[in-house]
Amino acid sequence: MIMPQLALIPAFPLAAFAILILAGRHLGRWSAWLAIVALAAALGLTLTIWHAPFAGQPLIFQWTWLIGSQPWLLGLRVDGLSWIMLVVVTSIGSLIACYSTGYMHGDPRYSRFFAYFSLFCAAMLGLALADNLLLLFICWELMGLCSYLLISFWFEKPSAAAAGRKAFLTTRVGDVGLFAGILCLAWVPHGSLQFAALPVVAQQVATPTLTLISLLIFMGAVGKSAQFPLHVWLPDAMEGPTPVSALIHAATMVAAGVYLIARTFPLFTPASLHVVLTIGLITHVFAGTIALTMTDIKRVLAYSTLSQLGLMVVAMGIGAWPAAMFHLVTHAYFKALLFLAAGSVIHATHEQELSKLGGLARTMPITSTVFLIASLSMSGLVGLSGFWSKDAILLAARHYAPWLFWVLLGGAGMTTAYIARLYLRCFYGAAAPHHGHAPHESPAIMSLPLVALAVGAALVGWIGSPGFSPFFTLLGVHEAHGFDLPVAALSTLALAVGSTVAWIVGFRRRNLLPAFLRPAGLALYRLAAHKYYVDELYQRLLIHPVWALGGLLSTFDRVVVDGAVNGSGRVGAWASEVQAWIDREILDRCVNAIGTTTRGLGRVMRWIQTGMVQHYLLMAVIAVVVLAVTVR
């Protein structure tokens, strides 16, 4: 079914961006409402077309963008997968936009914030709607730009400026991989960039090529979803305003990598899926351990995001892409909520160091409650959203390999541990002394979205729960998994263990390790607290060499290449010196002789040339006479 009005969905926020960037200064606080209304309109439009994805009929709108030996089409497509993304983005987006009106209140670049915010939403919606890799890539890059602009939003802080640049460049490395993947995919025989054509392509193309293409595409996902080798930008991205962290760096953009894998899943071969699984697993475990040691609220949440994204990628790696998508959705809600609640804390106390926080449960009851709900949901308390999605992944893992199941179960325990540690130290214990006014609950415009998201974080998982699963229907998967009691029991056990450990070690500060293991434990702790020194490693191995190479080539350019030019110029000058000598000593003599003669003649002529008219006339008359006499 062809529907041009699909273009309206991203067009609303895009229009809001255009208005805000051009005239935002004059709109004042109305700029926020413009962004919210635009997003709400996109949400409304998305909801009105619900029947098509459920009926399994995709809505399509295509147009020609480029021409060459073949026309290059861009297109929009709404099917179950993209519809889910649309709903997630627009619903969370509009709630976060409401929240931001309070959070960003009084900022000198208030309208600019909402401009970028709208552009991001437009790009994200475009990405979800894209029916081919080209448009997806375009939106992908635009999101990267918005991420950059929003991370560096408070650019007066050098750390924020540096973080934005780091984010952009790191993801760009991944993007080049994705770009190369697109290039390959476009020119393998029978290649096509249309998602709908990918299953056919996968059958036609040789497996090694396919592995290469899928790995290149996965590289893009690694960059955007901050998977292991390219994860370094995400924790730094917490320099941005907290609503941005919530929307872009937790709920939507970073999940786009997972969405990309889901979209291009037919291309992935077993070999490349192994790579995906490995990367995801490394990220999951490794980020989880770092999250245990971080002392900054937002950084804990950032590493938690990394870990959860790793979990989704693991699910992709074992082929359970519907489960991964399911976790993406539930994660979007509870992680956005966690960030917003953390933002509420930061807004109230102007503090994000765990050591300087505590006992906020009394002064900020709403924030405390929603934070608890989100934490429990993420930890997988039975009945809450996170439980259902994590359960689906655990089930799939058990089918894949038992060892993986146990590792993921450990990961689940770790998840509970770090989030419980965060919650307890933030909201319980002795209230930290505060400078100035006492912390207070955030205004209604901020707490209402919190409550709304809390409802989502608690209940949204039910759409994928066994027995009632419109979610999987939307994705066109009918092998609905049943409720597996042992798995549920084990995951609850992991939750209990994790939270107990967090209570004892993280909150009460008891060291449970036997004495002989303590040095090793401390070393491990240090390693994790320094993020395994990955940043430092990159600095040494990558960034310094690149800059050094730039400097080297620049010197080479100046000294060698330009030196060659100037050198040949100098040789030319020298040659002309020699020639000049010859000219001066030999040729000039001859020339001078001619010159002297001429000058002598000239002197004679000059005597004639008196400048007096009568003189000339006399000459003329004499000449006439002479001519008349001589010429017959």
Binding site: F155, P158, V176, A186, W187, D557, V561, D562, A564, G569
Partner: protein, 489 residues
């Protein structure tokens, strides 16, 4: 007739300026602006009247000039030259607006400026090699004086280097032109006729001819290792000079490949495509690396030009519709983007009299409009989708990637994309972000005139980035014909 108008209008402006007294600065400026504005209008009319489905030359005008040598005044345009003509018209108008910040010797400046416009236009319009060469060389003279008189820094050195370097390249081209002339039967400078005879030239001679043309154009493009005049000339040229230098003069080199080197020596061009591709990749990566290390704003942008022009070479080497479209579009887009960048550098230099990147910092808070535009053009340069640079680079890479012989250079040049982001973000970070440097507390934001000279570029960059089809349709037929001419496919 229309095309002759493109040449006559600036000429009339030039004569009027020469007749005006030195002191009538306003009148001189208005005449120059009117002349370039009229050229712009005329070229837009041309675009309207252009029939994009026709591959052959259009609006042809031919008058015998030196019949003894079979030289004629012969002008015409096709889908390859029309974008270049448009680019020249747009940039000369906007740079003329930007020239209002010139403070001394107005009469000479604007007279030379219009002479430069005539030269550039003529190069893109000429269909007679003799005429082409005259216009090609005509460009050098005013540019030499623009850099040498109104420039800064080591302007005499740079102007001289520019002049001699380019002239040396042109001599190689002149040799090739003369060889072509003597080889053609009947002897002619008619480019259309010479192109028709292209395949008839023996391959050995074609190689030599191609080498000659290559040297001439490689200096102009510029191709590594013939590029070192470019940073010096750019840095020391006055702002409008840099704009035209980067925006139009470099394109003359690329255009030369399309119009001369490829049609006249098609077999040699086909044979040497891997050389072009390799040099293109080197340009992209090398230029980007060197740009990364620069501390002078203008020099950085100059090296970014080296990098970006590499894409033109890469696209040219592909002989695929995508690649050629990309190369031509890259020339257009790079003209707009670099033109904008240089105008912005000039704005900053006018106010602060420094171009050291480290001397700035935190300007984003002080001059938000300027910051917005600088970010816009930087993003365009680093190839952000939605802006013109991306379309061009995408087409180029897609086109080049499908040719097995030049696949590895293409893959190599992907590094350039990351590096482009690195040096452009470096600029943004050093100039706009961070705490405000106290020295620039009273910096003034863009004035209306500066805003007017930049806004059209913004619109065009966006337009091409979002709807490139318009320009691609214009180019399509002629490029298809060229590809068919060279490859027979």
């Amino acid at each position: 007739m229309l095309l002759t108008g493109l040449l006559l209008l600036p000429l009339i402006g030039l004569l009027v300026i020469l007749a005006l007294p030195k002191t009538a600065v306003t009148a001189i400026r208005s005449v120059a602006l009117l002349a370039t504005g009229a050229v712009l209008l005329l070229s837009i009319l041309l675009l309207g009247a252009f029939r994009s489905e026709v591959a052959a030359m259009q609006f042809v005008a031919q008058l015998p000039w030196i019949p003894q040598l079979n030289v004629s005044y012969h002008v015409g345009i096709d889908g390859i030259s029309l974008p270049m003509v448009l680019l020249t018209a747009i940039l000369s108008f906007l740079a003329c607006l930007g020239s209002f910040s010139i403070h001394e010797r107005h009469k000479e400046y604007f007279a030379l400026y219009l002479l430069l416009v005539i030269g550039m236009m003529g190069t893109f319009l000429a269909l007679d090699l003799f005429l082409f060469y005259i216009f090609w060389e005509l460009v050098l003279v005013p540019m030499y004086f623009l850099i040498g008189i109104w420039g800064g820094g080591r302007r005499e050195y740079s102007a001289f280097k520019f002049f001699v370097y380019t002239l040396a390249g042109s001599l190689a081209m002149l040799l090739a032109i003369l060889a072509l002339y003597w080889h053609a039967s009947p002897r002619t400078f008619d480019m259309v006729e010479l192109a028709r005879q292209g395949h008839a030239i023996p391959l050995a001679l074609q190689r030599l001819l191609f080498l000659g043309f290559f040297l001439g154009f490689a200096v102009k493009v510029p191709v590594f290792p013939f590029h070192t005049w470019l940073p010096d000339a750019h840095v020391d040229a006055p702002t409008p000079g840099s704009v035209l230098l980067a925006g139009v003069l470099l394109k003359m080199g690329g255009y030369g490949f399309f119009r001369l080197a490829y049609p006249f020596c098609p077999d040699a061009a086909w044979e040497f495509r891997w050389v072009l591709a390799a040099l293109g990749a080197i340009n992209i990566v090398y230029g980007a690396f060197v740009a990364l290390a620069q501390t002078d704003f203008k020099k950085l942008v100059a090296y970014s030009s080296v990098s970006h022009m590499g894409f033109v070479l890469l696209g040219l080497a592909s002989f695929t519709p995508e690649g050629m479209q990309g190369a031509l579009l890259q020339m257009f887009s790079h003209g707009l983007l670099t033109g904008g960048m240089f105008l912005l550098v000039g704005v900053l230099y006018d106010r602060t009299h420094t171009r050291e990147l480290s001397a700035f910092g935190g300007l984003g808070a002080r001059v938000p409009r300027y910051a917005g535009l600088l970010i816009f053009f930087s993003l365009g340069s680093l190839g952000l989708p939605g802006l013109s640079g991306f379309v061009a680079e995408f087409l180029t890479l897609v086109g080049a990637f499908q040719v097995p012989e030049i696949r590895w250079p293409t893959v190599l040049s992907l590094i350039g994309i990351v590096l482009a982001a690195a040096y452009m973000l470096k600029v943004i970070q050093l100039v706009l972000l961070g705490p405000l440097n106290k020295k620039w507390q009273a910096l003034q934001d863009l004035t209306l005139r500066e805003w007017l000279s930049l806004a059209p570029l913004v619109v065009l960059v966006l337009l091409i980035g979002i709807y490139p089809l318009g320009l691609l349709h214009v180019q399509e037929a002629s490029l298809q014909q060229l590809i068919y001419h060279v490859t027979g496919r």
